[in-house]
């Protein structure tokens, strides 16, 4: 078998593997500006959000991860610079997942990737304060971590975990719920 024929046979699997790897890398990426914009709009359909002033977002990260704190700091900066739904503004504060039980008062939690180990703590904190948990990490829905998975690219897509929303007593606009994917 010549090298050319070999590459021809392996080409498609290699390409798929590369695409898969890029996909996974994208999954672990920080939220883009588009993602944050979509998250901001999504908050407009969560009941109980402030109608004026600042909506406070807790950016939850794994403090034990190498770049956890610094990545979260970048997201906090990006979120804090974003406009909220309607006439509101967004404000953000970083919260190490290990400290979430004693974290400052916020209106919603934005979960960074890689928080599976803290599922129990995060869900407990969110349940106690009826906080919506939002993430751009595609794993979060399956991990029962986030109520809303938001993705801006290639087109805006929102997935609602109806069971977790109910468990956390987080209410979503029924009209919005009709329009998004539900799990």
């Amino acid at each position: 078998m010549t090298a050319r024929r070999l590459s021809g046979r392996l080409g498609l699997p290699l390409l798929l593997a590369a695409v898969f790897a890029i996909g996974n890398a994208r999954a672990a990426d920080l939220p883009s500006a588009g993602d944050i914009d979509a998250i901001s709009h999504t908050l407009g359909f969560v009941e109980g959000m402030p109608h004026a002033g600042k909506i406070r977002i807790g950016v939850v990260y794994d403090g034990s991860a190498e770049t956890g704190r610094s990545d979260a700091a970048k997201v906090v900066d990006a979120v804090s610079a974003a406009a909220g739904p309607g006439s509101t503004q967004l404000g953000a504060v970083g919260i190490a997942a290990a400290d979430i039980g004693t974290a400052a008062d916020v209106d919603a939690l934005l979960l960074m990737p890689g928080l599976k180990a803290f599922t129990r703590d995060i869900v407990a904190a969110a349940t106690r304060r009826h906080l919506p948990t939002i993430s751009t990490d595609p794993q979060c829905i399956e991990q029962q971590l986030c109520v809303l998975w938001v993705q801006a690219e290639p087109r805006v897509s929102v997935t609602l975990n109806t069971g977790l929303a109910e468990a956390l007593s987080v209410r979503i606009s029924p009209i919005f719920a009709m329009m998004v994917k539900r799990k």
Binding site: G44, P85, S87, P154, P174, I175, R182, K183
Partner: protein, 664 residues
Amino acid sequence: MKRLAIALTLPLAGAPAAAQSVDYGALERMFGEPVTASATGEPLRISEAPVDMEIVTQDDIRRSGAVDIPGALRFVPGIDERVYGANHTEVGIRGYNQPFNPRLLVLLNGRQVYLDDYGEVDWKSIPVQLSEIRQIEVVKGPNSALYGFNAAYGVINIVTYDPLADSLGTANLTFGMPNEIDGSLVKILPLGDSAGVRISLGGQKVRALAGTNAYLPGIPVVGDRNGTAAVSGKVQLSPKTQLSLELSATDSRGAYNEGYSYSGVFIRTNSARVGLSSESDIGLLTLDAYRNEERYSDLPNYGALHGQVYVLQGSDDLILDADNSLRVHGEYRSDQLTLPGGEIGYDIYAGSLMWNWRITDRLSFVNSARVDYLTLHFDGKTAPLSGLTNADYANRSITGFSFNSGLVYSATDRDSIRLFAGRGLQIPSLYDLAIQDVFPDYPYGPYAVVGNPHLEPTAVLNFGLDYDRELPQINSRLSVGLFAQRSDDLYVEPSSAPPVVQQVSPYYYYYFATQTGYGLAAGVEAALKGGSKSGLRWGASYTFTATPDHTGLKYGDLYSYVDFAYSTPCHVATASIGDSWGPWEADLQARWQSAYRDFVAPDQEHLRRYNLGAYATVDARIAYRLTDATSIAFTARQLNAASERQTGGPNVQRSFLLSLTAGF
């Protein structure tokens, strides 16, 4: 900054979305595309709607330079327009257009503004200003499973800015050269955090069309003008309940082509509406009630026809589970019309069910079905020798079944395919069912125009296949669609039907509303639309429509002014280009259509076929932003021809408009 920001007409975002009504603005900002509830009753992204649909946005309306709704629709693929008068334009979808076209259901925020008297739309009697329209939703094909009778060929729903969710204030003054003036004022007033009112006023005085031909002996001069006023309010009664109220009034007059002749037509309408929507454990409950009143005349006394419509409808939108949602709808409707010979009316009881099944993340299947039950009543005297008695009306009922099904498949993030089928029902107008107009002293011999209570609704069966593809390389979207349609039990109104000569002295010519057979329609539409981030935008479309029919009507035999087979131009092409830079905004739109057939009436006894050749229309607009709150625009309509024959009516003249707009 290159993009022209017209702050004066662009509503600002209000508070986060109220939960019980569709906040079109917030949802559009969320998903990056228009949202519609006109397809199934449920809110949907336009890319996921299981019908063939176009949305004309406020940006499209502004850039068109239009001063009325038909003007804003003129360049939409699949729309067929006939400008019969300065105040009279007929809009059709995929053929079957005619004077007083009954085959298009038009709604304003879901309230019917289609007039049930003759079965028509008087665009100047719609109480809305262009600047308060968020979007115009055009559904091509039947949608009776949602809207019932009369949504057989197409539906246009005009959606305005929300008095609770949006913020808007704009005043506009437009001068047409020569002799045209148009003014409008729209303001949304917030009343605290939980209530808002939208006030809308507008008026127009337009120049009558000129250039009559030999077959138009006398077009009445009535001073074409119109005015509308509306107030609409919304209150958040509790976090889960919202109340809405609307009142409106309109007054319009103009030279209208009534089919067999031109008349000076005077129309006054008013409406009142109340709505309630509330979240509950059994879904999102909506209750809507309204009353429309209309006075129509071809004399300036506004009373020859007096119509009233009462509608009460309720629905429940329910999410069953992750993949299924349901919409249950019930409706009661009462229509009454006083006309020569008596008072005709009907009651309709209807129920419908819509089921949205998301089979996978990329495949959804939506099914709707509806049953309408109609009972007719008539209080008056039937025409002598017509063979009709009041029992013919008292015993008449119609049960109609309609459905819509749509399969939407997002093959990739850039490709989507839609397959849909629908059955719609077109009910004869009240006039067609019941007019009893006798003219014993007519100089050419006594005659009568008689409605027919035994008419069956036209049943329209439609199939369609659409393919949409995003083309990021050229920032465009390509849409290609095929459709095929069959209309059974077509009918024509009495004045368009062959006469029945009664061999009884005196010899009466009887014109009965008549069932005429069936018609077919098939076609293809292709459209490309795109724009760059720098502000450049473009579009092009081509539509082919064939409408063979099997009606048995002898077209051109001096009786019928409809000709389904030849009344639709087979080929229509549109093109547009525009750009925004700094304070400037410029747009050019062109439309070409092939030949079609219309009719003219040289006198009240005869009709003549009138074959129209192919023609083109080019409109241009340029606007300049003077300040953040004011702008000036110059529009040239029909730039390519000083005078153009577009229908069997008078010519349409080139005109120029100067428009001043201020936001506040």
